[in-house]
Amino acid sequence: MKRETDYGLEIKPVYTPKDIAGLDYTKDVGDPGSYPFTRGYHPNGYRSRVWTRRMTGGIGSSRRTNEQLKQFRAMGQTQGILVICDRPSAMPIDADHPMGRREAGVLGWHATSLLEFEELMEDIPLTGQSITLLGSAPLSALRLGYVVALAEKRGVDWREVHGSVSEYPFGHIFGQTDNLPLDLNIKLWLDSTEFIVRNKLHIRSGILTQHFQESGGNNPQALAIEIAMLKELLGKLVNERGLDFDDLALIPYELVSVGLRFFEEIAKVRALRRMYAKMARETFKAKTDKACQLLIAVHTSSRTMTYQQPLNNIARCAIETLAGAIAGCTAIDNACLDNAYAEPSPFAARMSLNTQHIVSDETGVTDVTDPLAGSYFVEYLTNKVEEEAYKILQQIEDMGGMIEAVKQGFIKNLMRESALQKQREIESGERLVVGVNELVIPPEEDDKIPIQSVEASDSEEIADRMANWKKTRDIPLLKEKIAQLYDDAKKGYHYNLMPSITEAVKAYGTAGEIIGVIRKAYGYHYDPLEMIDCPFEL
């Protein structure tokens, strides 16, 4: 069995004050709520507000997802909703696209139009809870449009809606289904976040390492990539869009994957807070405390959920939830016990939400902030993972930053090598996984659990409905708004497309159509899969 961290640092049997000699509490750690925020952002921690306990929603048609969200609410999820979109929406292509109809509503909500959003949110309030819509960068601008449009329809002030609907433009590198050329992805991200900042909306943008780590990346790599992404993206907002860094405080949030190596995961989150604070002050000369704070949410790791003996995953999820809670975060969503099989069944969803409530209500973890601070081992791990992360960050910066590193394939290589390494460790038995390479039981004797199925017919239904509905829209209005969008898109990289995207969204333009004409304006094929042609005459 390997006695090393996930990045190969040797772990000793005992840690003593010597291992953290030189650690200056005020300078390096700080009280909760004080720079460099290693211990967290709120002096009262969870006593002010417990983390949002939520489950990822998104299955089948918008109506079905709506029911699911209501179910979760009944199970105790009252602080916020989290909905992930399906693969067609992520690209984006519409449900009625030849390749869309096979996968619409599978693994997520089909997020391609305002109509779908309206159905998703029926009888669900836009305010009073956080609204988080996840999944793919290209869709960020549209989701922002949906929120603005629905808020207007409901007579709600946009500024009262809080949550996150925007996502970082690098997802494609980490295995997510966005299929927009990187430069265009970045431009749309800049447009939507600039819109958010200038309109003082409380809507954040997810700059995530979850996907990277779920594909196999290790902890210091994740930290380096997070800081590199933030530096580059926030840097562009400052340098290219003329925004003030302190106004950007409300933009970024990170969804970090928390795995089973309990202490390392806690150290990772603490290091991240410190690294972000330092970046804010040193690179961007942040003036306020708020601008040095990165909102961090936790996703318990899907990668650790095994196919074999799925009930074991309840224990895994509990350990990871506890780690996330101790590390300090603003929200936790769980990968469920049946993660290796399918979308969460109600049984699995309830289990996960209960786990969160057990941790928050029965363990006392909400009584004290950053309880492991001062532990020789944990402070040591925090220092070390940060040190290692800076080495990798330096490599990225030497290449010219995150975007260059992506283009040169460096990031993909990190992920690939790390994934290969982890696979080898399991195969050789250096890392043990119960049920997989130890204490294995024959499949016949394995746990039987209820499994959520999605019928292929659901996808077809969503596709047919979309095809028919498209014809019933106010076509002249739509054409007008699409033409305006196309013209605006041709005005160049720095022309913010949010206003015209929002108008197109209100006219019920779909994701495939809106992103399609933007693609066309930039010289790309309308359809990311090059199978269908632009239906508009432009």
Binding site: P181, Q408, G409, G523, Y524, E530
Partner: protein, 321 residues
Amino acid sequence: MVNSIVEKIVNGDVRVVAKLIRDIDDGAPGTREILKALYRHTGNAYIIGITGAPGVGKSTLVDQMIQGLRMDGKTVGVLAVDPTSPLSGGAILGDRVRMQRHSLDEGVFIRSLATRGQFGGLTQSTRSVIDVLDAMGKDYIIVETVGVGQDEIDIAKSAHTTVIVVVPGMGDNIQAIKAGIFEVGDIFVINKSDRPDALNTMNDLKAMIDITRRRFKKEGWEPSILMAEAAINKGIVELLNEIEMHRKNRKTLSRETIIRHKKAIARNELTDMIKIRLVEEVLNHITNSLEFKKHLDCIVDGTKDPYSACDELLSAKLNLE
């Protein structure tokens, strides 16, 4: 049997072609007869070699070229060659990834090959495979190679037009690129030309080409340098036009020159074929023999030097002096 296979290939039967290429690659018996019979059906395709270092965007470029040629109504065969791992003997053939949108087009046949590490980069069977695609009736055959050394030069021997792809910022790499490239390149493409160093790269290339031309006086055609951004389909039309220009230029060469070129190509092809047969029949025979092993043991325990061992083995095998 052979005739029916030949007929099917000439009629474009994908399954039969695919199987034959596999058999050629694997060295299956009987392929030689088929290749002999196919030979008279070859000579119609125009062969374009695309080469350059890994990561310059060759496959993306080829993908766009296929699109351009198809829009002109031409059929295309593509051979994408990737290196065999010297350690494991396996390979990852990943060029097809960038061309998959053509996988359902009946006018396009794409095949990936591993170099299998014999005799320099270019797979020994590549020429045979090119012949098969030629006989199959493809108007154009694009051969994309790994670009890590001798390959670039090898491919030029089989191609009518050789295109070398570089990217800006390769900087000192241009000097480091094997000198032979500048002799064989007919067209140079600077891909990803939106990058800042593109003009510098163009100047560097011009300088290298000039030096080479002064030394080797390549007849008639002056190697051209084009800019492209294959990812957004920029510069492709120009590249295809330039290839057409080169093709036309070849026709204007004097008859003596054409015959000289053909002879050079034939010489290379025949010599390589003989080389390969020699290895298979003679070298492997020797290295697998008991005498060889005995000589090895002697060298290891110091009772024989390798020079004498070599002479003895060869004189026994070939009746040499």
